[in-house]
């Protein structure tokens, strides 16, 4: 191979690597620009608020997904866990909004812990375990709350649609979750462990890392974060609807994580990229809807984005 072609390859690798790390910000900028020019009413405080509120649950779910993917796993059950938590909010509302929300979060964590136990201890592939949880979780939610149930609770309504300092509560909560996950990843032992487990599980084991405990915790956290998103959605809709809450959100979350620069093979996690990825997913949906394309188009667009993102990440993971 000539020096020139080696250089060309190095350049291509570098470009690919740059694209993997920062492409998501370019994507967000591009879609914002498109909307500023072509979408009437896009540049308004009210629209920004709507977009932020709708992006919030995706961001929260994607954060948990990023942690799971960083360990080399995947969690397909996040949407079902959202539905479960929504069901428990309506079931326990009689005990007051706070209790019902706490129960919902606990249920999410337990569902995640079940995933984590089977993955970490029994060693079953995450994709199978969480696929089963995806089916069983939504099934259970439908058994508990067979159809859409309206929720009339002033506190929950306030949480779902109110604001403080001009920023909706749900956005505050999402921001808090981002800060929490950033702290976990950047500052804690747990954050170091999860990328090490994803990067080389055998090396992590030999280095005395508690691999199983780390995996269990990661899936539990992912379940709890999905439950947070479930509560957000329930509060915003003022209804618990196990049929539709969180439906197909796993696709958006996985896409957000991968577009944000976290490789599907694990060993690396990018929190800011994930947040940007989630915002990109929301803007993609909003744009297509605003331009009167049917929702099925947005799903196809999402799948196209995820394939493109995995393609970009491909070569680096292999070398």
């Amino acid at each position: 191979m000539s020096a020139a072609s080696v250089m060309a390859r190095v350049d291509r690798d570098r470009a690919r690597s740059w694209l993997q790390d920062y492409g998501v910000y370019v994507g967000v900028a591009a879609i914002v620009l498109f909307n500023v020019v072509f979408t009437p009413g896009f540049v308004s405080l009210e629209n920004f608020r709507v977009q932020a509120v709708q992006a919030a649950p995706i961001v929260v779910v994607a954060l948990g997904m990023a942690l799971v993917i960083a360990t080399g796993g995947i969690d397909l059950s996040v949407g079902a866990v959202m539905a479960l938590s929504a069901a428990f909010v309506s079931l326990y509302l009689g005990y007051g909004p706070l209790v019902s929300v706490l129960v919902a979060l606990l249920v999410g964590a337990v569902a995640g812990a079940v995933n984590g136990t089977i993955v970490a201890v029994a060693g079953v592939q995450a994709i199978i375990v969480t696929l089963a949880m995806m089916i069983a979780g939504r099934g259970l939610a439908l058994v508990l709350v067979p159809q859409l149930e309206g929720i009339r609770n002033p506190a929950l309504r306030e949480f779902g649609s109110g604001s403080v300092a001009g920023v909706p509560y749900v956005v505050w909560v999402a921001a808090l979750m981002v800060a929490l996950v950033l702290f976990l990843v950047r500052r804690t032992l747990f954050g170091r462990r999860l990328v090490a487990v994803g990067g080389n599980r055998r090396a992590a084991e030999l280095s005395g890392l508690p691999v199983r405990r780390t995996l269990l915790l990661v899936y539990t956290l992912c379940g709890a974060l999905a439950a947070v998103a479930g509560v957000m959605t329930t509060a915003r809709l003022q209804a618990s609807d196990p049929n539709s809450v969180g439906l197909l959100i796993e696709l958006s979350a996985i896409t957000a994580v991968v577009v944000g620069g976290t490789p599907l093979s694990g060993g690396r996690v990018r929190v800011a990229g994930t947040v940007a990825g989630a915002i990109l997913m929301q803007l993609l949906v909003a744009t297509l809807i605003k331009h009167n394309l049917p929702p099925s188009w947005t799903q196809m667009a999402q799948t196209a984005v995820i394939i493109a993102a995995v393609y970009v990440a491909r070569e680096r993971g292999r070398s």
Binding site: L189, N200, G208
Partner: protein, 530 residues
């Protein structure tokens, strides 16, 4: 050199095979004669597998000639080689476990009846064919139900029934029970009787002497010896495999080890007693005193790596105790061993060592992270300090602590891993092939470091396939065979010749390990420490 026994069935002259960066075969000659079993031996990486693959058309050759029955030949694909009468049975049986025994046997050449498989005939013929190999099973059962040995026989029957002229067996006994090995040898005897040339690859020398007529020894891509096996001393065979001239006195200065260390008295840094794990370790005991470098000798598969893994809590034991400075390791698993002060530098740098996506810094700090943290929060300042200390001490060449570890050279990666373990400030360091696959410069540095560490009072266990490294680096060498300690050399008796001898004779005269008194019970090849 091959004696005159008529025309060889298969003759190879000057076979060359290059892979990027290495010459796996550097001009190998091989003659296979009808009705003779030819042993192919050599350490890992000597070129055995490559030679087989070139012969059978898996790899193309970059030079040399191949003759079948005196006519130039050469196979572009394995199928072509098979049609010409070369049958190969690989270590891993490559059959389909869910299909029936008979289907496996006749796969691709099933007896037909109007285009459909003639099952009655296939079953009848399969049962007959397998009967010849001592396998009497219901051939309609899925192959997966059979024992490994029986499966091996099916693979053999499948290969041989295709009118083979040459049968190549790559480590055929590695997963067989003794009784199955016996049956295999009978079958080999029958093949020999039918005038088939057999190539037999194995690390088990006993087997070679039992079943083979001729031998070719490969080393670093060269055929260093070829001839009848009978009359070739076992000791000489091992010397040939390892590349040590028996008469040659151990050269000095080829490694950077300084020589003997001042071994402190008192409690051993490490005591391992009766380590036992099914099929792997049979009661291995050893101890290492502070400041001592103990080598583990033995051929591939003798239990060297397993011993290190067992000590480091990475191998589940049925029995056995490990103590550091007289205190038993509490709990199981690697974390417990690390807490007790045991560090293991694993053999496989890529798969067990480095975490590729992470930086040099994170890789160094990986195991020590809990000690550099408080309440689950990592102290970046302390991590930085430890990382810079070790990067300097080990002279790790990187653009900086934040460089990705995968971008480093093999030698520097190895140093990063050493730093990871030294950052734990261990009492015992287990090094499994610490210099394998790294360049000469890094190798010298690692060897010097081992010396320094021992001087600082660490107990070091050194595993190496490089005899020179073992002899010059270790104060004492414990020799393993089949998962048991069979000998020990210490002091002035640690020489390459003595080591080769101990490895070779290990099985013949199990040595009672006894270092403290005047040497009673020691076998002749073992000199006792003064």
């Amino acid at each position: 050199m091959p004696t005159d026994r008529g025309t060889p069935v298969l003759r190879a002259r000057g076979l060359v095979k290059r892979f990027p960066g290495v010459r796996a075969l550097a001009g190998v000659d091989l003659d296979l004669h009808p009705g003779r079993v030819h042993a192919l031996v050599g350490e890992n990486g000597a070129g055995k597998s490559t030679l087989i693959k070139v012969l059978t058309g898996v790899h193309g050759r970059d030079g040399g000639e191949l003759e079948l029955d005196g006519r130039p030949a050469g196979f572009a694909t394995p199928a072509e080689a098979q049609r010409a009468g070369l049958a190969t049975i690989y270590q891993e049986v490559d059959l389909l476990p869910l299909l029936s025994v008979a289907r496996n046997l006749f796969l691709g050449r099933e007896p037909r009846w109007f285009g459909l498989i003639d099952f009655p005939r296939m079953h009848r013929e399969a049962a007959e064919a397998l009967g010849e190999y001592g396998v009497h099973v219901d051939v309609r059962r899925p192959l997966g139900d059979l024992s490994m040995g029986a499966r091996q026989m099916v693979a053999l029957a499948r290969a041989v029934s295709a009118r083979a002229r040459v049968v190549i067996m790559d480590e055929p006994t590695s997963s067989l029970e003794p009784r199955e090995v016996h049956t295999l040898f009978e079958v080999i005897g029958r093949l020999r009787g039918r005038g088939i040339a057999v190539v037999y690859v194995s690390h088990r020398l006993d087997e070679l002497y039992e079943v083979c007529d001729d031998v070719t020894v490969l080393r670093d891509g060269h055929a260093v010896h070829s001839g009848p096996l009978a009359g070739l001393e076992r000791l000489r065979l091992i010397a040939l495999m390892l590349g040590r001239d028996m008469s040659e006195v151990a050269r000095e200065g080829a490694t950077t080890f300084a020589g003997a260390h001042d071994v402190a008295g008192g409690a051993p840094a490490l005591t391992a007693e009766a380590l036992t794990a099914r099929h792997r370790l049979r009661g291995v005991s050893l101890d290492i005193r502070p400041g001592e470098v103990v080598g583990l000798g033995g051929l591939l598969g003798s239990g060297r790596t397993e011993t290190a893994r067992a000590v480091a809590g990475d191998l589940a034991l049925e029995e056995g105790r490990v103590a550091v400075a007289g205190l038993p390791v509490r709990g199981r698993g690697t974390a417990a061993a690390i807490r007790a002060g045991i560090s293991l530098l694993p053999e496989d740098r890529k798969h067990e060592g480095i975490v590729p996506g992470l930086s040099v810094r994170e890789n160094i700090a990986l195991a020590a992270m809990p000690r550099l943290s408080r309440f689950g929060l990592v102290s970046e300042r302390r991590v930085d300090r430890v990382v810079s200390t070790f990067m300097e001490r080990l002279r790790i060449k990187a653009t900086g602590p934040s460089q990705k570890v995968e971008e480093l050279s093999g030698g520097n990666q190895q140093k990063v891993l050493l730093a990871r373990w030294l950052a734990l400030n261990p009492a015992v360091l287990l090094l499994d092939e610490p210099t394998r696959g790294i360049d000469v410069g890094a190798k010298a540095e690692v060897q010097r470091l081992v010396d320094e560490l021992a001087e600082d009072g660490l107990g070091v266990l050194l595993i190496s396939s490089d005899l020179e490294e073992l002899v010059e680096g270790a104060d004492r060498v414990v020799v393993l065979k089949d998962g048991a300690v069979v000998g020990e050399l210490s002091g002035a008796s640690v020489t390459e010749d003595a080591l080769v001898d101990a490895i070779a004779r290990g099985e013949a005269s199990p040595v009672v390990r006894d270092r403290s008194d005047g040497g009673a019970g020691a076998a002749p090849e073992e000199e006792v420490e003064r």
